[in-house]
Amino acid sequence: MDYPEGNQALAKLRATFPDSIIEVKEFRRDITVTIKKEALLSIMQFLRDDEELRFNYLASISGVDYLKIEGVENRFAVVYHLYSFKNNCRLAIKTFVTEGSLDIDSVYPLWKTADWQEREIYDLFGIIFKGHPALKRVFLPEDYEGHPLRKDYSLEGRGERSRFDYEEG
């Protein structure tokens, strides 16, 4: 396979965290590793600080809602896209979050860029990032109720768009 850096990362990850890796998927040379939620911070720290791997750039964080998707047990997922400048390679780390316990560790202590991205996911999906310095809404008004990117939230909303109780002046 002509993607050795990614595989090297995978091999190292497997050796260091044998119990935390749930699944590994490869699609067109991009590797996605599904891990246990509890091991997120230690795995991320390892990937960032390991001398050989150096995944020092958090490219993006995404939230996913798997409502009514067959074959997926947990409702939400958070996907971290890492990039290593040293090896010029990418790695996706995926963790599932259940509807019952919506909290997950914040990676803000490792990458400061996680700040607004985690706030965005909290805003639109309602996933709670533990350890985030100021977890509040970014896009929607502060008094907004609900998390509109969830699949069970109707597209037209719940009447927010026709509420015009604005202040005078």
Binding site: L140, L155, E156, E160, R163
Partner: protein
Amino acid sequence: MGLESRLGDNILTTVADKFINWGRKNSLWPLTFGTACCGIELMSSIASRYDISRFGAEVIRFSPRQADLLVVAGRIVIKMGPVLKKIYDQMLEPKWVMALGACATSGGVFDTYGVIQGIDQFIPVDVYVPGCPPRPEDILNGLLKLQKKIERDTVLPQER
């Protein structure tokens, strides 16, 4: 104004109407509230090719206190609603509002939780310009329509 209370509805006040309306319609000072691609078309109609100054509306002001035409060009989301209302409230009378494009008029294709389905739900709109986005010709046509409307205004109050 004390003029009309003494004179009533006679030749002087109708001439005053005509004169003041002529001045107002030919020197509209727009405040461009551009939030989307309609704003780009608006810029195009202001620039040299379409040249909105042919109709006397080239003095663009970004302060509501110095403008009398609020051009809402683009979608207004629920977070922007109070901002737009505040800007409208800060404009001095007489003032007019142009809803530019499908989004400001009705929400357009954005039938979603965040987009207000027409700004006329919270501020009065004088002229709607259809299009997605409208061409500069449409914008100028809207301006001419608004000028026609201003022409018919009565400047002096009819009764006190």
